[in-house]
């Protein structure tokens, strides 16, 4: 069953196109295969009266090292749909990009704004087909003609819908705040504060979440992607420029060897001028 919105229907089963390439690359790296960057993360979403608020931290980790201090985990899918991604950074990035492309094609083909359920179904189909090999835990939020929606899609392809959700390594911390503070039909300010507090709990209690907090508010009127919404209180004072003045390194000896060049061939090519 080919979807009208994708360029070509996916082949059945796993796609092992890169398996041979990966095997060869392993040889090149001398046993030091670069570890995948994970967004050990806290992401959360809340449905409020007029729309959906999504929130995420901005730390991307590669084992114990912070690979990116200002990583963007709230991805654009459509003008009315945004997606937070937890799990393997590359997987969430590429999966959401693929989804966004497909939905754009659909919009152009049909002249309609995409619906959140459509995005969810496409993601579910794709992630289920890969049986968890694509490590992407996503929270999709959006506003469409059918209302305000919030869904989560797991790496194995399971879908859940709730008025408030949290995913990532800091999800338990965030969920504690959400369970306590969520009420139906919140006002915008309360909803933003709830999501901020939830992500903050993740940032404080989970080592793999941290740095700043991003918020994205989706309503019928439009999108407000605030990056960062809250800046980390632990700002480092390092300068990003490491420019050393002349003379910092002492010169002990200097040896000048002129390189002899001889003219082997000389050709003149006339330039056409008109």
């Amino acid at each position: 069953m080919a979807l009208s919105n994708v360029l070509h229907a996916p082949a059945a089963g796993f796609n092992f196109d890169h398996a041979a390439r990966n095997a060869e690359l392993e040889g090149l790296f001398d046993a030091q295969i670069p570890k995948p960057v994970k967004t050990g993360t806290t992401i959360a979403g809340v449905v409020f009266k007029d729309g959906v608020v999504l929130g995420a931290d901005t730390r991307a980790t590669s084992s114990e090292i912070v690979a990116d201090k200002m990583c963007s985990k709230i991805h654009y899918i459509a003008p009315n749909i945004y997606c937070c991604g937890a799990g393997t950074a590359a997987d969430t990035e590429k999966t959401t990009e693929l989804l966004s492309s497909n939905l754009t094609i659909f919009s152009l083909n049909s002249g309609r704004n995409p619906r959140v359920v459509m995005a969810v179904n496409i993601l579910q189909e794709m992630l289920y087909r890969y049986h968890g090999q694509i490590g992407a835990s996503l929270i999709l939020g959006g506003v469409d003609c059918a209302g305000n929606h919030l869904y989560t899609v797991g790496p194995y392809g399971s879908v859940n819908t709730m008025p408030y959700l949290a995913m990532g390594s800091g999800d338990l911390a965030a969920l504690g705040i959400l369970e306590d503070g969520y009420k139906p039909d919140l006002e915008l300010d309360k909803a933003k504060e709830l999501v901020r507090a939830a992500i903050h709990a993740g940032v404080m209690n989970d080592l793999a979440s941290g740095n700043n907090i991003d918020i994205c508010v989706l309503t019928r009127e439009g999108v407000d992607h605030i990056r960062p919404y809250q800046v980390s209180q632990y700002k480092d004072k390092r300068k990003t420029k490491y420019k050393y003045g002349a003379g910092t390194t002492a010169v002990l000896t200097e040896k000048v060897v002129p390189v002899k060049l001889e003219v082997v061939e000389e050709t003149v090519q006339r330039m056409d001028t008109a």
Partner: protein, 214 residues
């Protein structure tokens, strides 16, 4: 004596949730591949999935697998029903589930109860456990919590109970299983399917019948 509705209790939520090592569903234990922790991914999942107007399925096992299978069967059954220009039979739906569950038995972890009403045989319950068997039963239980209530169901089910008796029996059974099974909990969802339609009910945590005195 033929209750017109007759969803044998088997049909109501007696499935109580899913096994520990698999994926999230209602109050379900998730074993994260990376950390092996027990985590409830969703404490209010709806595991009663409509397949057609008068046919539901109760899902247990891997959430991803059962959602995928249910979607496929919904499509196949809908197509079949349109071709026939008739409401589909519950037995047909059950066979479609069995076909998928058996063919892909190595890859799937799905225990499904198919239940509904059709004109030919009235209310029916079919059990499609892991492995892809298909058997029709008057009463059936499934999921990780089902072990705790086999005795309860065996001793308390009687043929030709009324709808309310059935609902009460099912709610009691699920509550008892939730009491004992760590992977089950949250709310109890009930659906009563008959010629006249589907009635859905939710029993919240604080409204459940209480059994423990200590």
């Amino acid at each position: 004596m033929e209750q017109t509705r007759v969803p044998p209790p088997g049909k109501r939520l007696k499935r109580v949730v899913s096994p520990v090592s698999l994926y999230p569903s209602k109050p379900l234990c998730l074993s994260d591949r990376l950390s092996l922790r027990a985590y409830i991914a969703n404490r209010v999942t709806d595991k009663l999935t409509p397949i057609h107007d008068r046919i539901f399925c109760c899902r247990s096992g891997s959430a991803a697998d059962t959602q995928a299978i249910a979607d496929v069967v919904t499509y196949q059954l809908g197509f079949h029903s349109i071709e026939l220009d008739e409401p589909p039979l519950v037995e047909t739906a059950a066979n479609l589930f069995r076909a998928s569950c058996y063919r892909y038995r190595e890859e799937l972890t799905a225990g499904i109860l198919v239940a509904g009403w059709d004109r030919r045989k009235g209310g029916q319950v079919y059990c499609v456990p892991i492995g892809g068997m298909l058997v029709r039963q008057p009463v059936s239980v499934g999921g990780s919590g089902s072990s705790y209530i086999y005795g309860f169901m065996d001793s308390n089910y009687k043929p030709n109970m009324t709808k309310d008796q059935c609902l009460e029996l099912t709610a009691a059974a699920v509550s008892l299983a939730m009491e004992r099974d760590g992977s089950s909990g949250g709310v109890v969802r009930l659906a009563s399917i008959s010629k006249d339609g589907v009635e859905r009910r939710v029993i919240l945590g604080n409204q459940l019948p209480k059994y423990s005195t200590h």
